[in-house]
Symmetry: C2
Subunit: 509 residues, 2 copies
């Protein structure tokens, strides 16, 4: 393994030891440097426990500090202890913790916990306001407590001790990483739109009071500015698009649509507001991905009449509809003729699914008898309007970034689609509503939680620390608002699938 933490048997340098008349420190240091092809530092507390005489079962755990390796602990070889890393996807809604065995490369099932900062505001701007007015420590303390709580739970679950965790890799957006470190966020979303820090050095976990091994290190993915955070850089790392010859597009769909285009020679990125609709937010019956959320919707042909059916997460009674379900549903309604190409509900095609709400007409996906809360799950006309705006923004951002480098959609070899959707987005549905370009389905690669995957990847490849620096140096950030024709393009995309239907030949069919 090429992990950030490595474990070596010391029986060889300790055996050759005595005749060479060198101290154990020097023999072990030279041995490890030979194995690691890099410098090794030994802190005083580890030096004091170096065995003076030959021990057959002695092992060294070394931790990469971003430049050198640090001898973090001496262990006995048998019984073998586990050497773990913790990958953290630091989201503003939920934080996903994944323990990784750094010797085998195996990741354990992730633990997702709600971000406790939500008590100071659901959205990031309210939290920044609170931090600016009352002190960032109010935001930093609960997130650090969450880290320790997650470590405790995961260790209990898997029969581990916090001291078995030697590395943390954290991927989060710019604001979330600032809160974690207690940094100043006050200028992130106002002039001059500037974070306090772009890049972070590997530092000891105990500097933040994180309860893991006393020599454990923390890596935080860097950001390029207010709108392009470490979660995106982790995403690029996870897809490997920066290493491939073909051109890839990475799309992270969320309230902010974040997009990266490029290959091993060049990378451009941009971000733009898409609104929360595509994640299931703000919709009448939208929900985050949780048990009972409708995550898949399809048109079935039931005895010659078209019907729309759905699946929920864990098969529980429906409690709402999450991102992947919403995109499926709009596509299904469009294909079934229930929604026309302007996004208008066609009442006469809705049958008994038609429902009148305080907000106008709506399509009922689940009756009150089927749901967990006894209320129907539906999509209203104004929900559709929100969705149309979001999908149009998404498509326009893709159009702008691709054309800005003189390319066409057809030139793209792979499209990685990431986002907190619940299930992977169905690319067929996303194409149907004109959110993603009409390319052969095999070019779409779902990447799920790419921030988590990138953090896991980094734990398992210490060279990725340098790789991320290189990505950072190569990536050009495009300002979306610099394009004069953005609004014109957006308006053209406010149609199902698009005012220019020739762009979507497979939908036309």
């Amino acid at each position: 393994m090429d992990s950030t933490v490595k474990r070596f048997s010391l029986s060889e340098p300790l055996a050759q030891a005595i005749p060479a008349n060198k101290s154990p420190e020097l023999r072990i240091r030279e041995h490890l440097q030979g194995q690691l092809h890099a410098g090794v530092t030994i802190p005083p507390r580890t030096m004091a426990v170096l065995p003076l005489t030959h021990k057959n079962d002695c092992a060294a755990v070394t931790v990469y500090d971003g430049n050198l390796w640090r001898l973090a602990e001496l262990q006995t070889m048998q019984p073998s202890r586990q050497v773990m890393g913790l990958a953290v996807d630091l989201g503003s809604t939920s934080v996903v913790f994944t323990l990784v065995d750094l010797q085998t490369g195996k990741a354990l099932p992730p633990l997702s916990l709600p971000n406790p900062q939500r008590q100071y505001g659901e959205d990031i701007l309210s939290r920044i306001l609170f931090a600016t007015q009352n002190g960032v420590e109010h935001l930093q303390r609960p997130i650090l407590q969450l880290f320790n709580q997650a470590i405790e739970s995961l260790c209990r679950m898997h029969g581990l001790a916090p001291g078995d965790i030697f590395y943390l890799a954290v991927a989060g957006n710019t604001t979330m990483c600032h809160f974690l470190l207690g940094l100043d966020t006050s200028l992130i979303f106002r002039e001059p739109y500037m974070p306090q820090a772009n890049t972070f050095d590997v530092f000891p976990a105990q500097e933040l009071g994180i309860n893991c091994h006393s020599e454990a290190m923390v890596y935080i993915f860097p950001n390029i500015g207010s709108y392009f955070g470490g979660d995106l850089l982790a995403g690029i790392l996870a897809t490997g698009m920066h290493r491939s010859e073909g051109i890839s597009l990475l799309v992270d769909v969320g309230t902010n649509a974040e997009v990266v285009l490029g290959n091993r020679d060049w990378l451009v990125a941009c971000a733009g507001a898409a609104g929360p609709a595509l994640e299931g937010g703000i919709l009448s019956c939208g929900t985050v991905a949780r048990p009972g959320a409708i995550e898949r919707v399809s048109v079935t042909n039931d005895n010659g009449t078209q019907a729309i059916s759905y699946n929920t997460i864990e098969g529980l009674p429906a409690c709402g509809i999450c991102g992947s379900g919403v995109i499926d549903l709009l596509a299904a309604l469009f294909l079934a003729g229930v929604v026309d190409s302007t996004g208008k509900l066609v009442i006469e095609r809705m049958g008994d699914r038609a429902m009148k709400t305080g907000d106008g007409w709506a399509y009922t996906l689940a009756n009150s008898s089927e749901t967990s809360h006894g209320q129907p799950v539906y999509l209203s006309q104004s929900d559709i309007k929100n969705l149309m705006r979001s999908k149009a923004a998404m498509y326009t951002i893709l159009e702008v970034i691709v054309s800005s480098v003189g390319l066409k959609f057809e030139d793209i070899d792979q499209i990685f689609v990431a986002g907190a959707f619940g299930n992977y987005i169905n690319p067929r549905s996303a194409i149907t509503i004109g959110m993603l370009p009409d390319l052969p389905l095999e070019r779409f690669k779902p990447v799920g939680n790419s921030a988590s995957s990138g953090a896991v990847h980094l734990l398992l490849h210490h060279t990725a620390i340098q790789e991320v620096k290189e990505i950072l140096g190569r990536l050009t950030y495009l300002e979306m608002n610099a394009r004069g024709d953005f609004m014109k393009l957006l308006t053209a995309a406010m149609f199902l699938p698009h005012t220019d239907a020739s762009r979507f030949p497979t939908v036309k069919r």
Copy 2:
């Protein structure tokens, strides 16, 4: 200054700042990297106080960790705070602390404190025995307390705060450095004569609980083994002999005579027991260098009759005789014919200075009426025997090392004489008794406390950390007991100045 700690104004990177739309972290990091021509790391607690907007009077204090520079503190430019380092000569008898202003290079007067480990034994072997039986923490705790006590006293004396100290450079013998770090000394002076550690990485002072700046770093000079410690490496560094083209000899006279010979191309070293006589130890009236110690003795011609006169440290009534005084005295007695070339007192030449002690005849240097304690200060026949053995050992070690590389004494361009003598050794006296070779006096350079000077040098030259590594890699250690003819050579040297008087032509005259 090329110091281990540097201070930079940040008005430039902060001013250019805002238009470049880069975070203050990135602007400051790039600015400092440009100034330092090396990587800069920023710990979270410093990052959190980086100013978001332009400040004219902001300064960064950076500390060298042996590989990279660490941004340790942000200060206001005015009023200018002092950035200090602490050089420590960690001796087994006394510990000498020297504060150094790392911006001007000025060293403040040193503070010498007795080593509190002496409660566990005057000599190193007793302390090792105590540590092995009772735990090294008994030796480590008092020395760390002494560090904190010295820092407090020095700061009070000079109107500084412990937080103004950003760097410590410690030079001590192998055992003393092991005690400081709480390392295992049990095999240092028995088979296989092996310390637990040879080289030490720069580490944060707070890891040992030393009360200085929270980001302060500690450098400890490495050792080559049990007999060649960091104090000697600091000595080499202080003389600069490893950079000069001509051949130098560094002689550290003490209970162990430690000798280094070489130039910028090669270095050989050896050490051998000389006994404590030359430092003023074990002699009937010997004392460490302290106020009242006789540090200079000379033959004066008083109205045609030769008389012997002395000076004490600070001009106080005599309390004993220290190293430099003892060597002067033996030379004076020999020149005055009071001691013959075999080292025997000539009673008829002593006049009223003759004194009968329980131990045989003695020469009275100071009458009881002149001394602080009301006892005479004298040199007995058996003292002279001890001195003859020590000076012979010293000379033989020099003879062996010089001949082992096929050189003669005449080939040596400079001789650096170090040691805890009180005053600098008078080379004329040392030649007279045959302790040092009979070379032109201008080739002798007193270096005083070379361990302290080396530590001060390192504080003021961060590149010296690499330089010491190179010295270490280039230095060959000769085993004295490997020479079969050592005892024969030693016996020949047990004469004043030597059995072969032709070696000392100036003494003959």
